[in-house]
């Protein structure tokens, strides 16, 4: 929170899908993206993490009810007419998707696709456009431009395709980058390369990166700050390192425990189980929470965790949960 200016601010964002029977995907989410920093958003399917990304890109389906505010610098994005959004999308906020195979057009050469994307925002001479593309390819460490630009997506490996998608996002000079599970479809060793690449571009270009994933181990590697989402709300936020090493919300603890690690093999993994029937009242995590108690019948707010001001959690007992996590992590060492 020290370096870089705030590039994107989300305040109390609510997203409802009336067409899908009034499902509320986000219930008041606030976060900020800063230049040169990576914010991780963790959560399972249905937690609203992808919706948060799509909302910032203005890509939610028509008819979606969006309230709250998404500010890009001085500009309010919520309610921005589509015509104006087109100038923002790609140019100021860009998104990297999980499936490169669907993000790239299979019947067009990579060069043509990069050219179209770049020219949509920077209608310049052929040489200008090419210079931009080459610069972008170089920043994603693809040096064999001629061959890459002449290839069709199927002629390139998954890792190279993902680099091209990143290059496409960079070629238009966007400083806010949203990446939704950018490496899930890739092999572990390629994943590592893409992560390293993202780390370098964020530092080099002082980008603000929002990294969305269900895998906390993956986010721990790359992120400065971390937000954990559950049922459309932020349940825990703080610096990635402190959240991972000493979670203050029972859900974060549960998510961390069920990751198989190389060193704790062969045991039974703890499962998220239901202790009681889910209810609409009170804390949304109560029915699955081993820490539940009487106060949980009322919904807790996202509040600072006693120990430190930069940590917050949506739990009445966050101080106790944090203390327990700290004790456990100390006993391991």
């Amino acid at each position: 929170m020290h370096q870089g200016e705030t590039l994107l601010t989300v305040r109390d964002l609510r997203v409802e899908f009336p067409a899908r029977g009034g499902v509320t995907a986000l219930r008041g989410v606030s976060l900020a993206l800063q230049g040169g920093r990576t914010l991780g958003i963790a959560g399972e399917s249905g937690s609203g993490k992808t919706t948060a990304g799509l909302a910032a890109m203005g890509l939610l389906p028509p008819g979606t009810r969006v309230t709250g505010s998404i500010r890009l610098g001085e500009r309010e994005l919520v309610g921005l007419p589509e015509k104006e959004y087109r100038r923002v999308r790609g140019r100021q906020v860009a998104m990297i998707f999980q499936e490169t195979s669907t993000a790239l057009n299979p019947v067009l050469k990579v060069g043509d696709q990069l050219r179209m994307a770049t020219r949509a925002h920077f209608p310049g001479s052929k040489d200008d456009v090419r210079a931009r593309i080459v610069a972008a390819l170089e920043s994603v460490r693809l040096t064999d431009h001629t061959r890459v630009l002449r290839s069709y997506p199927h002629e390139l490996s998954g890792g190279m395709c993902q680099r091209i998608v990143i290059a496409m996002a960079l070629s238009c000079g966007s400083r806010v980058l949203l990446a939704d599970e950018p490496t899930t479809a890739l092999d572990v060793s390629v994943q590592e390369e893409i992560l390293a690449l993202l780390r370098t571009v964020v530092a080099e270009r002082q980008l603000a990166l929002m990294l969305i994933s269900h895998d906390l181990a993956f986010l721990a590697d790359l992120c400065d700050d971390l937000v954990v989402m559950y049922k459309g709300q932020i349940v825990e936020a703080g610096s990635a390192q402190s959240v991972i090493s000493s979670p203050a919300h029972p859900y974060t603890r549960a998510l961390l425990e069920c990751i198989p690690s190389l060193h704790s093999r062969r045991g039974t993994l703890p499962e998220l189980r239901e202790y009681e029937a889910p209810s609409a009242q009170g804390c949304g995590y109560r029915h699955r929470c081993p820490w539940r108690a009487d106060p949980c019948l009322e919904a807790p707010a996202l509040a600072a965790v006693a120990a430190s001001a930069e940590r917050s959690a949506r739990c009445w007992r966050s101080a106790e949960v944090l203390r327990q996590s700290v004790t456990e992590s100390e006993s391991v060492v």
Partner: protein, 288 residues
């Protein structure tokens, strides 16, 4: 009413006793020098699996790790009998018999090895309800005579009685795949594989598209089924941490070749091959 409806559900237990009584020296499956070539046209071929051999003991979990293109899925399909190797052979010992080329034991030789895929959505017929999806493998239409009878109601009851074992709620019995969550679909696929009472289940990236918490549930399910029924698993994944969690032995594939095989602890703690070390180094770590 007795949920079992007088139906004897003995087959998985039977294979458990078979697994225990068989001396560990006799493998359940043996792949010998398997080679698979893919023909790319214009006379070009790609050797996907290059002289790979392995043995699978009863009740053992063999993990196969490697990246895309390493040949791990092709090897799994050879083990399941979907692909005939261009060279080498796969022997299966089913029903306590000696190792035999499975072609000679048709159809038992194929039915004995079941497969669970990554995309359960694609692996399940969207038009069938859960009881039919699972029931198909209990009574694959006149393919085998089965002691559980042929009546439709009875088959539904058999499946109903089994759902709990796979962590599925009984309320799901008439649901179709579109109405199930990802984890439920994968558990249906597991139930379908297990109710054919196989000796071996080949799981190809069976937990890769699941959320971490659901992945834990499905991994625990595999572990429990192995412990309870003695079924052997071939567990294929690109994620060595997931494989290490479940497997007794790990086989590492790289460019179609088997670069390292060994007990899990040995492969993880003292990897011999450079590529294995690279895979291990790429595992994201929570400890910083």
């Amino acid at each position: 009413m007795d949920p079992d409806h007088g139906v004897q559900v003995t087959v998985p237990e039977a294979s458990a006793t078979a697994a225990q009584s068989r001396p560990p020296a006799s493998p359940l499956m043996s792949a010998e020098e398997v080679v698979v070539d893919y023909h790319l046209g214009r006379g070009r071929t790609l050797r996907a699996v290059d002289h790979v051999s392995f043995e699978l003991q009863p009740g053992e979990v063999l993990g196969i790790v490697g990246e895309s293109g390493s040949g791990k899925s092709t090897l799994g399909k050879v083990a399941a009998g979907f692909i005939r190797p261009d060279h080498g052979r796969v022997l299966v010992a089913s029903d306590g018999s000696a190792l035999q080329d499975r072609a000679q034991r048709h159809p038992r030789g194929y039915r004995d090895v079941q497969m669970v895929f990554q995309e359960s959505a694609a692996a399940l017929n969207p038009r069938l309800p859960v009881w039919k999806l699972i029931g198909e493998s209990v009574r694959p239409d006149r393919l085998l005579s089965h002691p559980w009878g042929s009546g439709r109601t009875q088959l539904r009851d058999v499946v109903l009685a089994q759902l709990g074992r796979y962590g599925l709620s009984r309320a799901l019995i008439d649901k179709r795949p579109a109405e199930l969550s990802g984890g439920e679909k994968q558990r249906v696929a597991v139930a379908r594989a297990m109710l054919a009472s196989p000796a071996v289940v080949v799981c190809d990236e069976a937990v890769s598209s699941l959320d971490v918490s659901i992945r834990a549930v499905v991994l625990n399910l595999f572990k429990r089924l192995r412990d309870e029924t003695g079924v052997a698993l071939i567990f294929i994944s690109h994620d060595i941490a997931v494989v290490a969690h479940l497997a007794d032995r790990i086989l590492v594939m790289h460019n179609g070749r088997n670069v390292e095989t060994g007990a899990t602890a040995q492969v993880i703690d003292e990897p011999k091959d450079a590529y294995t070390r690279q895979l291990l180094a790429a595992v994201p770590r929570l400890e910083r």
